[in-house]
Subunit: 316 residues, 2 copies
């Protein structure tokens, strides 16, 4: 049997896991629900059960490690989540160590957008570059920065919080304490809020607003232009900061690419000398909502290899 790693994507709504080989082949996937209302222990229990099911199927000896992508700020050293709106029940809990102890396999805990960026680098739209930025558009906006083929973590692991870049100094208030964060101006939530502000309807989904824009409604069209402007401001600054070859976007709102991208690119062109003078690719990510699973699995392999290096140096 082949060696594999298990990638877990623990979201506020969905809990998914996949057994993936070192060549990036998906052996099997499990999809379930994150039962937050039943508390932290139940969610952990569900996650451990999913992992065990895959482990039983593909062999305990062949399992290299486990990677877990979660929304929120990660403190790498302690393997804890802090300040996650979606997984508040885990705030400060040592979930990496708990899972490691229960399963006896190296575990890596990572921010979900970082994991997705790594997945795109490993096996998706970023395969051919070493440096890239991924912006994930969803309920909120996340970010992952890959530099030299590795996740840029910063001091404790909080780097890449691109959804909290200020794009409108006095813009909409954000749960993080700031005003005018990118995620308040360019996420699925931002789209539905703007629809409400424009009195298009208070119960509309982002998809409804998209359909309305396609049907020619000028207010709905403006919403996507406004989102493109916010993304363009953030991306232009990121290009001026990094001069990377590739910037990727992913997530549900990507479906409206044709509506927001022209404004986004026009903003970037205006706001970045580097963009105008060097070839910079701004593209859709390739792996959709699987990117995080792939990245998490990659981290499982990495955790295993770090563990064996550490063991080797202890016994040497």
């Amino acid at each position: 049997m082949v060696d594999y790693s298990i990638g877990v994507d623990l979201g506020g709504t969905n809990l998914r896991a996949a057994a993936i080989t070192g060549a990036g082949e998906v052996l099997a996937k499990i999809a379930g629900t994150t039962n937050l209302s039943e508390g932290r222990h139940k969610v952990l229990e569900d996650m451990v059960n999913s992992v065990c099911k895959l482990r039983d199927q593909f062999g305990p000896k062949q399992l290299a490690g486990i990677g877990i992508g979660v929304p929120g700020f990660i403190v790498l050293e302690t393997g804890t989540i802090v300040g996650s709106n979606n997984l508040a029940v885990f705030d400060g809990a040592p979930i990496r160590d708990e899972i490691e102890q229960r399963l006896g396999v190296p575990v890596c805990l990572e921010n979900d957008a970082n994991a997705a960026a790594l997945g795109e680098k490993w096996i998706g739209a970023g395969r051919e570059v070493d440096d890239l930025v991924l912006i994930t558009l969803g309920t909120g906006v996340g970010g992952g920065i890959i530099f030299g083929g590795k996740i840029l973590h910063g001091k404790v692991g909080m780097a890449g919080e691109l959804g909290h870049m200020t794009v409108v100094p006095n813009g909409y208030p954000c749960g993080c304490g700031n005003r005018g964060c990118l995620e308040k101006h360019a996420s699925a939530t931002a789209i539905t809020c703007m629809a409400k502000l424009l009195q298009l309807g208070s119960e509309m989904t982002a998809k409804d607003v998209y359909d309305l824009a396609l049907s020619g409604n000028q207010k709905a069209v403006m919403i996507f232009e406004s989102m493109g402007e916010a993304l363009g401001i953030a991306l232009a600054s990121l290009i001026n900061i990094f001069n990377f070859p590739l910037y990727l976007l992913s997530g549900g709102p990507l479906a409206s690419w044709d509506l927001f991208a022209p404004t986004m690119i026009a903003e970037i062109r205006k706001r970045s000398f580097t963009y105008r003078n060097d070839q910079t690719r701004i593209e859709k990510a390739m792996l959709g909502n699987q990117a995080g699973l792939f990245g998490a699995a990659y981290l499982g392999f990495e955790a295993a290899s770090l563990r064996s290096t550490a063991l080797a140096s202890t016994t040497a």
Copy 2:
């Protein structure tokens, strides 16, 4: 005699050079003027003469290499400057190769703020960290990012253009094509422009505005608060992006630290969850206008070591 490198700081106004040892000891300095009005060849001539003077004094055999810091975007591969407002006469000219050929010593061309950031890392306020961001405040605003002890260059060498981050989406127009660039809201030029807008006087220097603020003039005080706000917006985004341990500021306007820093820190605190939850130092750089000379000298040593590695692999 001791091995040394020559660091050159080629500004729009001043041309300076220093012979510096591998331990960071300054053997000698030369300060002159950049005679831009007499054309590119005259400036090159002056630079070569300064270098020769130091080389004659400290020995040609002991000279490892030369590093040159210049304002503007650098294309590393070709060793050219593009889009420099201050050194337009050099636009696109292969000045690295010209100097290398004339002197027969490895030469490294680098953006001046990148060189300054490296100088601070080598021997200044960043000695004890591997990752830092430097923002240089002057006529314009420059930036340098050090990651893992090295300059973050990006694809062609244009990374770190922090002065062109958008901090006010519809702010003052900038020569780079954007509006609301950090350097239009937080530089010596920005200070004097705001003084003019507030009818404090059209001929005031940044120092005059500073003195006026110290004397209690509320309009002058507002100018520095406005500058602090712009810096705070940019720094909060940088902290959210990088989660680095240290962010440095340097340049003439630092003299007004007590006037702009309180607003700056308040903005950062509001706009960065990471700042509030992790220890992040925001400090004055230590080396003043010598940082670029030190960083350039360091790059001279590096150019020499790269050259000998390349030679070794050719002869191997």
